[in-house]
């Protein structure tokens, strides 16, 4: 049983006009076995939350805390966070020229597990992970994300989620830009991960569509850099029919 706890998190980014506050006191607790959906309009700070948890150098934490089982995550380097059991599926995965997918995955797996995977079982594991996400078999020889279609990039992220099998996964708009078939493939990967029973998911999305395939236990409405409303899956249905207007207006008025 593990807990990812975010308390009163304030985050700023450097802009040409100076430091700009994006997150204004986020409180969130994710326990293993739970799936939390974070929904919100563009610019509400959803992605900032994801990158801040992962430790992207662009984002400056001005106050608050993020802990994993009580251990301070914010003082860890990016790679230490991953090795501690956090994973971020990125909205825009980065191309790494000249580094093959197979080399990349083996290096990451070795780093996360603390030892190199057995050659024979690893290849089997890799092939079945690729197959499960309907990846072409030549992907392993291609360079990381280079020349990948949008859908391939997202499936590649979820493939990494399954292979690295972290304690907590943050999925940053993994559904955006996917057609319905790709969405189902990606959702089934996330569900396989969830079915282990002791993994936590923080699913960030702009649309409720993906929640038809990945059922959340909790839904948080994110507006103006904080959680404006919380509820169960019924909240997603409400947002589907009514949109974010009510929350945006309330945030603007306050």
């Amino acid at each position: 049983m593990a807990t990812l706890e975010i308390r009163d998190l304030h985050v700023s980014v450097d802009t040409e006009q100076g430091l700009k506050g994006i997150l204004n006191g986020v409180d969130l607790t994710v326990r293993s076995g739970e799936t939390h959906a974070i929904m919100g309009p563009n610019g509400s700070g959803k992605s900032t939350l994801a990158y801040s948890i992962a430790g992207h150098p662009k984002y400056r934490i001005t106050s608050g805390s993020v802990t994993l089982d009580g251990v301070d995550v914010l003082s860890m380097t990016v790679d230490e966070r991953a090795r501690a059991g956090l994973f971020l599926a990125m909205q825009y995965p980065v191309e790494v020229p000249g580094v093959s997918v197979s080399n990349f995955l083996r290096t990451a797996k070795t780093a996360v597990d603390g030892e190199a995977p057995q050659v024979r079982t690893w290849l089997k594991e890799l092939n079945s992970a690729m197959e499960a996400l309907s990846m072409e078999s030549d992907v392993a020889q291609r360079n990381v994300n280079e020349g990948f279609s949008g859908g391939e990039k997202k499936r590649h992220e979820i493939m990494q989620l399954e292979l690295l099998n972290p304690k907590f996964a943050v999925l940053d708009e993994t559904d955006s830009g996917l057609d319905i078939d790709a969405l189902k493939v990606v959702a089934s990967g996330v569900n396989r991960f969830r079915e282990q029973g002791d993994r936590g998911v923080l699913l960030i999305t702009h649309y409720s569509r993906i929640l038809r395939y990945i059922t959340p236990d909790f839904v948080h409405v994110f507006v103006a850099g904080r959680v404006a409303e919380e509820g169960g899956r019924e909240l997603a249905e409400e947002l589907e029919s009514e949109g974010y207007d009510k929350y945006v207006k309330a945030a603007a008025a306050s």
Binding site: V13, S47, V78, D79, V99, T107, A108, V112
Partner: protein, 393 residues
């Protein structure tokens, strides 16, 4: 004569200055000349002035493929000058005159060499300066690989002539893996025969100053040239590669790709990519690319592609040049998968060089190149990471 024509010829003479075998016909450079403006002359150990080039502080080791002859011949051997090369700067003209013998590699007609011929020149000191002259003659329809390794410590000026007869295929790899105090000035000139194919690879890791001119001309239609370069400059190093592809025959092709990395204060690289398409060179195709990866502050990468076109009746011509900081987004992506920072940097730099190492395509040299990249990266451990630049949101 029209102004346009005059301009073209003026430009042509800039790319292709008249040569001379006489050192005295090349004035001592001042550093203001176009071809010398990037080179720190003070560090040339007077190679550009009058230092005698009679030193013997080096050894040469030759491992020739059994089908190939590699021998030392007299300086007046007809092989010398057989490429049509005429020195275009003072250092090369001085080396031409000073070399008291010629090292001649001959690949007989229709011979397919089973293994590379490796010539290792090892310097043993910088007190005296030395000159060298190498001629590689690839016979008609022969196929071979020649590797030149430069190691140790030396002040060295040389000329290398490469002659490809019709249909010959030759890979020539020149590795400059000198000690930190070496100074090396070299001119490689190749003439590519009808339907012949040359792969020329320059690899520069070591030395205080390395300045390589590499020029190519064609002797008939259908010739192909691939020029590859890989360099890695550390603090204080000057590595300069100046290329000139003279498309003087129709239906010839050239493809240039040079990639370099720089790290540490005062690391300086220069890449000049000159391509000339003469009026006769109809139906040719040329492309040149230079990419530089700047790993730390305090480095300078100069990159100047020049394309002179006298005929529009060509298949294609283009060039690309880009110098970028280490990509922190790539680093973040790898680290977010648990890969420690130093290993992530290593992966990215290996990845940057991966395509060029693969294209050199000589297995015996590939491991050495990867190890050299590894050694260079090891020097960088402990340096602070490059400052983050413009991360995407």
């Amino acid at each position: 004569m029209s102004n346009v024509q005059e301009a073209v010829e003026a430009a042509a003479s800039h790319l292709h200055p008249p040569g001379s075998f006489e050192p005295d016909e090349h004035p001592v450079p001042t550093g203001r000349e176009e071809v010398w403006r990037f080179t720190p002359l003070k560090r040339l150990q007077n190679l550009h002035k009058d230092i005698p080039l009679d030193g013997q502080d080096y050894t040469v080791d030759v491992q020739a493929a059994p089908e190939i002859t590699a021998e030392s011949v007299a300086a007046d051997h007809p092989a010398k000058g057989s490429s049509g090369y005429v020195p275009t700067d003072r250092v090369s003209a001085r080396a031409w005159q000073a070399a008291d013998k010629v090292f001649l590699v001959t690949i007989p007609k229709e011979t397919v060499a089973a293994e590379p011929t490796v010539i290792t020149l090892r310097g043993s000191g910088t007190k005296t300066a030395a000159a060298g002259h190498l001629v590689v003659q690839a016979g008609p329809f022969s196929e071979s690989t020649v590797v030149l390794l430069h190691e140790g410590s030396a002040t060295f000026a040389d000329n290398i002539e490469v002659v490809l007869a019709e249909g010959a295929r030759l890979t020539l790899v020149s590795v400059q893996d000198w000690d930190d105090d070496a100074v090396h000035h070299t001119h490689h000139h190749a003439v590519v025969g009808r339907d012949a194919s040359l792969k020329h690879a320059a690899v520069s890791f070591g030395g205080d100053l390395v300045r390589m001119n590499a020029s190519v001309a064609y002797d008939g239609p259908g010739g192909e040239v691939e020029m590859l370069g890989l360099y890695f400059a550390d603090a204080g190093q000057h590595l300069e590669h100046r290329l000139f592809v003279d498309h003087n025959a129709p239906h010839t092709r050239s493809d240039v790709l040079y990639k370099g990395a720089l790290q540490g204060k005062g690391a300086h690289t220069v890449w000049i990519g000159n391509v000339m398409i003469r009026k006769a060179a109809e139906g040719i195709e040329t492309f040149e690319t230079n990419r530089n990866l700047v790993l730390t502050d305090g480095c300078q990468a100069d990159s100047v592609p020049n394309l002179e076109i006298e005929t529009g009746e060509i298949v294609g011509a283009g060039h690309a040049s880009a110098t970028g900081r280490f990509d922190d987004e790539q680093l973040f992506y790898l680290q977010s998968r648990g890969v420690p920072e130093d290993e992530a940097r290593r992966l990215v730099v290996h990845g940057f060089f991966a395509d060029i190492v693969r294209r050199v395509g000589v297995p015996e040299i590939e491991r050495r190149l990867l190890e050299s990249v590894e050694d260079e990266l090891a020097k960088n451990v402990g340096l602070p990471p490059a400052t983050p630049v413009g991360a995407a949101g």
